[in-house]
Amino acid sequence: MDAGLDMRTTGTKSDDSILSILRLIVQGIVSIAKSHWVTLVNFWRPTVCERYPHKDKSLDYKPGPGYKGDFALITDKEKGRLRCIACQSCERACPNHCIRVVPAGKGKDRYPAEFYIDVGLCMNCEICVEVCPVDALTMTPDYECSVHDPRDLIRNIKQLTERGMEFDEVSRVR
């Protein structure tokens, strides 16, 4: 092991000879001086903190693609409608039962009349995104989703569609 680990000369048993006491004092002073050197060095190192809502250090931090942030429903721009076919796979797959889909229409025209996600209950596991057969649901790098009333954490189809307008495909790690 390294030298640092072997610096165990100051045993727990008390050794009362003058020499050992002097050695202990010297060792103590050296080790304490070293500690102070470390804090002094770090005093001059750049700070890691950011004044978060003030974006003065890193402007508009966005997590990388594939971040499990707030949800969005992707709109198929060619057809001009949501990709979601209201098959309710996500509802069944969700471990916390925080998704409720209300389907409407029949056969090929099935679409979600309502799509609720209780983000407060969600644990961001992304299983719903994975089970989606048509890649209609995605998690976005949106992380600033705090609200004042916990009821507002229940996302409805309007919010989800709106956020999904920025996305053409499911957000994945690159």
Binding site: T12, G28, S31, S35, P63, M123, N124, E126, I127, R174
Partner: protein
């Protein structure tokens, strides 16, 4: 002399926790103290009981995956590893070599992150504030890599049965290599700050003595047993995943006191760096996922899969009845068993040592209560 024995001073019964700054969560210790000495310590747990084992009975094997992260939040990747290995063993799934390597990379990174938290909080327990912030600064680099990879900072849900959520992001290897380059120097720095500091040494040496016999009686595992001189490490003993292909030492210390456990953990961080460097070198190309049926129905049977978590022997005991949901899932949580030995370690210690000893056995309360 007789009068001395007639003099009876009263012992003080004192409640440490569940709201106390340094019980690492919501542990409650009922201490009987005589002056500053602890006569008896009785831990009370259960404040964070989250019925992880009951939840498993109502979820499918895939749905339970994110819960595996959640009880030992400092070692989420390691927990996922234990669970995913148990399920794959039960289903007879072999994963690709690249996947195995990435899993080991994640587990080892998480080990470093966990030990950094340990290092920092032990500093807090002994009254030194700065190491905590420094350790979190270093941990941030790891957490950032996790975030880029799995999309989350603490509870990743990155492993999947039969593979992983996604491949590593393109910048991952470079960033990790960069971190591995500067990190060992930082460990030395923090050793200068805390480990080698004479006040810290004198406080940690000779307290919380854990003998090999005590370890056997209490099934203490992880860095705690290695601090007592026994090279018991599941990575070596079982040799799961790709660990047999990697070179690393099992650091042990013969003293068995709190300081020895501390040194073992510091050295383990270095060994993890070593493992990570080898993994980056050997990381094979290729697929990360194998084909797994959509409806996962393992055969009837049971597995007891052990992995080495930063806190010790973590095991997932999984019994399948052939349906989509586990019949019984039991976590052998290392903190649960490591915490049990605490009353033995506290006998005769000072009140100040209580927090230092508690810090040195490195428990995570959700891991204790599950």
């Amino acid at each position: 002399m007789e009068t001395r024995s007639d003099l009876r001073t009263e012992e003080l019964l004192i409640n440490m926790g569940p709201q106390h700054p340094s019980t690492h969560g919501v542990l409650r210790l009922v201490l009987t103290i005589d002056g500053e000495r602890v006569v008896q310590a009785v831990p009370h747990i259960g404040y964070l009981h989250s019925s992880m084992e009951k939840i498993a009975e109502a979820k499918t094997y895939r749905q339970y995956m994110p819960f595996a992260d959640r009880y030992d939040y400092l070692n989420a990747m390691g927990n996922e590893l234990a669970y995913v290995r148990a399920v794959e063993k039960l289903c007879g799934i072999e994963v690709t070599p690249r996947c195995e390597y990435i899993r080991v990379i994640m587990a080892e990174m998480n080990r470093i992150a966990s030990h950094l938290v340990y290092f920092g909080t032990l500093g807090l327990d002994t009254g030194s504030w700065s190491p905590f912030l420094y350790c979190f600064r270093e941990r941030e680099a790891i957490i950032q890599l996790f975030e880029d990879t799995s999309g989350q900072r603490l509870l990743y849900h990155y492993f999947r049965i039969g593979g992983l959520r996604n491949d590593l992001p393109s910048h991952f290897c470079d960033k990790l290599a960069e971190f591995l380059d500067y990190f060992p120097a930082r460990i030395n720095e923090y050793n200068d700050l805390l480990t080698n500091n004479i006040i810290f040494q004198r406080r940690m040496q000779g307290i919380g003595y854990l003998s090999p016999e005590l370890c056997r009686r209490y099934s203490v595992t992880g860095p705690n047993i290695r601090g007592a001189g026994i090279p018991y490490d599941i990575r070596r003993v079982v040799g799961y995943s790709v660990y047999p292909e990697l070179e690393f030492d099992i650091p042990t210390r013969p003293e068995g006191d709190a300081y020895a456990r501390h040194l073992v953990r510091v050295e383990e961080m270095r060994q993890s760096v070593r493992i990570l460097k080898q993994c980056l070198e050997k990381l094979p190309e290729g697929e990360i996922n194998v084909k797994v049926p959509r409806r996962l129905k393992p055969v009837v049977g049971e597995v007891y899969e052990r992995v080495e978590s930063p806190r010790g022997e973590l095991a997932c005991y999984l019994i399948s009845d052939g349906s989509e949901k586990p019949w019984r899932l039991h976590w052998r949580a290392p903190s649960f068993y490591n915490l049990q030995v605490l009353p033995e370690l506290l006998k005769g210690a000072y009140v100040a040592d209580t927090v230092a000893i508690l810090g040195s056995i490195d428990i995570v309360l959700p891991d204790v209560d599950r």
